[in-house]
Subunit: 252 residues, 6 copies
């Protein structure tokens, strides 16, 4: 990665540099867990709710469920986007993001240990400057740990088994870049979202040749950048959680 | 109003005392005008968007339009409320509030001076502790003035003609109270929302006997309290707007 | 009110004069209670249905529920209005009116005495010449009393505790006027709907500065006119109900 | 038909006898044409609206269009039926009836002579005691003639070319019966709706073996009864229209 | 029918001649019964599903239910038709056809013998060249018999009591024609669909004067042609079912 | 890959072996391009439609658009799945798949060379035994080439620039496997879909740890298997297209 460090991006970052990340824990008064996560100008509120029941298809299994909802505030974006409530239906993009967040969260939770309850993760974007879905995953993880902790009973396995964070990576022109802001994203040739665990394994790899296809070698370089970014995010998550970080992955 | 001052409320306020109000102007990066308004624990983001067209029924009239949308974040409330986008329809309560905000805003705007454009006012409640609709009106007014200012041309009439703020007032037990918080509101016998102008006239008077009907005398006392509260809110709005406050009501 | 009596309106009425009111009881064959109410050219069918169950949120409380639905026939209006069934959704105006009617009806009913059942009040406007929502309330009250009577058991409290009627009042130009017809309503500066009980107390006060704001003094004059109109309507309701009028408010 | 005359039905009619029919012309104040049609206890308001445009698929053809909407008031029926507006969608039954009415009306109208305008026929059932769709057709025809007359210019072809009426006929037990009331209809083995012109030709023949299939001979007897009933209805329509009846079918 | 045989149609058939019919039984791997039915270029997949429950209105009656769904693939037609899923609602035409198929199927099934279960009949049109609804009925019958057979217990009455098939017939110009293809159908003066049983009785007679009304004599000729066509279809159904044909109508 | 060849799967294939693939070109009579693609028991009809207009956001750009729709027939699956038209909305899964197909197709088309027209790709699944979305992409490519050819003018660039195919690959237990059938897919630890071009570059890489996360090494092995499978599919596509294969990628 040495070769690229003297290349600069529109916001002055080097190619493998993330934007400043800030997580404000317990941002909302009523939710069982909540954060405001800011990654550069991207700002997302993630709220976790514990509901003492599961969807019909899980009833009687003894297992819990994790589900996510995602929404853009109308003026989170440069031009106003129409509310999905006003349209009366959820767009394909929102569906896709909601499914991604929910699936990612479930991958690090022991649903049996959670018991027959649902964790709702509401991710509402106040300001969108690229990377809202990955910010939502990284922030929702903290809110989920706090929410799970409200129902956790000493001496049991803690239902959250591992850390989880996400980052975007892409190809701009022919250069690989980490953590794309909106302007970069809208011109990127390739756009990839990675979700990884604290153990360094993959949960989701979603790469799309938006403006051009990409080679196996480019794919590898994107994975390298992404691994580096996620490592840093998980370090920060541990910091933010403080003593609670030690419960993640705890055995009974 | 002297007689009631030694009665205390659940949060220690006297009967005719408002909660602490704080308005953060230019809260969002992209909107033409935006605020975060906090009234006690109630927090609402109000964003104003200027759109260079009008709805079909206004086309060709030479006049502009003001419209509002309102939404609760799922965990703005004590128990999670289901997203209207997920339900696929807007509830009656939301419709009612949106119509109220839009009507109130239009009452102080010279639609002719605005020209054929629409101002969208998006009011998104981050935290709901009573009085969200009146907070939305008081905050949206500031966002609207900022948005209108982006299109204002020197030497013309400023399209916003007067100040506008709103407050709730009610009867708890048999006592009149100003600015109800959620717990008070849920037990109130009577609930009233008032919208008034900087000139001290009424724009909306909406009183409902939630748990009991009310006398003409009680109605009068509620109006007295409300007038006092709105006076204070408009003073604060002028403060927040600073020099821009002088444009409100300016003739060509 | 003397000063205004020599002012005349478009239909020849004096400022504080209502239009002719006519209620035809038992208008429909199948409903438990029903009326056709005519106020001038405004005609509304109000039908009351008794259903032996309550909505989910009331189950097991031992209390009943009252709910209302309101609809305009497509050619009740001067130009055809599109059916909400065809649009696939209910407009904000309809939602607002339905909520108002339901809330008003519940304010004079002892839900405990009603028992776990629902009274549906269907208000369908055949012809709309102003004041349809207040006509609906005044008419639905009669339908509701008849429906409640079909389930009433001697020696119990009669679930309807008080009379209830509604009227509109407004400011046309700068003159206060009672019971606005459509043409007046569409030019009114201020529009107010009042719902009051047989005891002379308020249940709803909804005043809107449609075209201009209004002073406290104008508000007071509107309340004076409205009180007078509602008094007359309740007298007429008692007449229509005949001996059944005596049951309203009856203690066990 | 001699053999059946001494058989009596639940309402005392003979097998080939229709219920009493009454059409009140110009029932609504605002519509271009309107009737209240009563057939026994079945009551339907039919309103005709002239709109000076056509649906997209007819634009530029120089021809007009006729379309119908049908709705049951919630308490037109013995037990309350849920509003389609509340359900957010139109049922299959309503769709079927609306299509039938529209198709039937178009069959006697010269769409070219009508010019590029739409006639909306709104059929709202106040009380449903069987035969609402056929009553709607018979009544809507009168409303349509009145509406067409408001745009008719002397010396042109009158766009309505022929009379049109409809009736139901069925098999109860094994007996053929004309004009079924609700109770008969709900027990009928076979149910048939016929729409015919003033010239005695068929526009629609819709026979359904609801509870049992039927033979060719039974089909023929139903057709005989229906022809008789429609003949009587068209005589009555001519009566109701008075001098306007002479315009139907007029050549330029 | 002699007189018409030397008249030829666009595809060379004589007026009372059907197109080639081909039914492929067990077309799908998972369904309890399924066919691909081809009538000329019209191709419909009919799948029967047995579900071990009934709709709410049938619960506890001890009887079963038969219901049908119908859909056109977007490119089954000459120009692409928009998916109903994309529109978010089912068209009137589809509703009408679904109701027709369901009603027709129920007419030959002993719902008591079926027991409390539902047979779903899914009719998906791959290619539409006229007569899709009648092809769907004729094909769905076979799929239904196969599905019913999977739950049939020896020595009981077989729930399907009689054969059932359907055909279209019409008037082109002034000539009666059997089994209209799309091009004929789109120019037909009269269009009629007939559903008949193996016993030669009628289940549905639906004749519509699309472009002109029709006389009693024309109606009779259409019925003659239709009876002939359905007779041939039922012969073919028996052939296709082979030994299973003997179970249809079997008594306990 | 040597090591795994003596491991056998439930259908007897070796780990890196695809199921039998069969593409029937011109399967539908009316579409501009269409295929039935069969991969094992998975069967999908792909139909391409050329529409001479573009969606609003593309108007006036001189460029064309490619869009896809995907649907499961109700009995394409082991248990009946409810139609999205009946539900009134499209599920998240369908949205995701439709977006994937459309994006993939656009990646190999020169939208400028296509001109202002839309290619609709309708993918309807007759039978679903795993890999329906990748089968849809592989089949839709052929339908698209045929459709584009109907509008192609000699001596221009052929708008389709490269071949395109897709395949699924996954981890079952701890073994990598190519082209998962439904039963394998429902037990897979990891599931990945790959879309690649004839040049061997990636268009989409979508890997999901369904039941467990995966290492970088496992990711690499999945990519190896997938590359092999797609190579074989593109060879077959060239075979099927015959002489038309030479036009793909042709310069003006």
């Amino acid at each position: 990665m040495m070769a690229v460090t003297n290349l600069k991006r529109i916001d002055g970052r080097s190619m493998d540099e993330m934007r400043v990340v800030k997580i404000t824990r317990n941002y909302l008064k009523y939710a069982e867990g909540s954060v405001l996560i800011e990654i550069g100008n991207t700002k997302v509120i993630c709220a976790a709710t514990v509901e003492e029941k599961v969807p019909p298809f899980m009833k009687g299994t003894g297992e819990g469920w994790i589900t996510a909802e995602y929404s853009l505030l109308p003026r989170s974006t440069q031009t106003r986007n129409i509310r999905e409530a006003a349209k009366g239906k959820i767009t394909g993009r929102t569906h896709e993001i909601q499914r991604l967040i929910g699936r990612a969260m479930r991958s690090v939770v022991d649903l049996k240990a959670l018991g027959e309850r649902t964790i709702w993760l509401d991710c509402d974007v106040l300001q969108a400057d690229g990377g809202t879905r990955t910010a939502a995953i990284t922030g929702a993880f903290i809110a989920m740990v706090d929410a799970v902790n409200t129902i956790y009973k000493q001496d049991k396995a803690f239902p959250v088994r591992d850390f989880l964070a996400a980052i975007s990576v892409g190809v701009i022109g022919s250069e690989t870049a980490l953590d794309l802001c909106y302007e970069e994203d809208s011109h990127a040739a390739v756009d990839m979202n990675l979700v990884m665990t604290g153990s360094g394994t993959f949960v989701e790899v979603q790469g799309t040749g938006e403006k051009s296809d990409f080679s196996r070698q480019q794919l590898n370089e994107m994975l390298n950048y992404g691994e580096k970014g996620i490592h840093a995010l998980i370090d920060y998550q541990k910091d933010i959680l403080g003593p609670l970080a030690w419960k993640v992955g705890r055995e009974p």
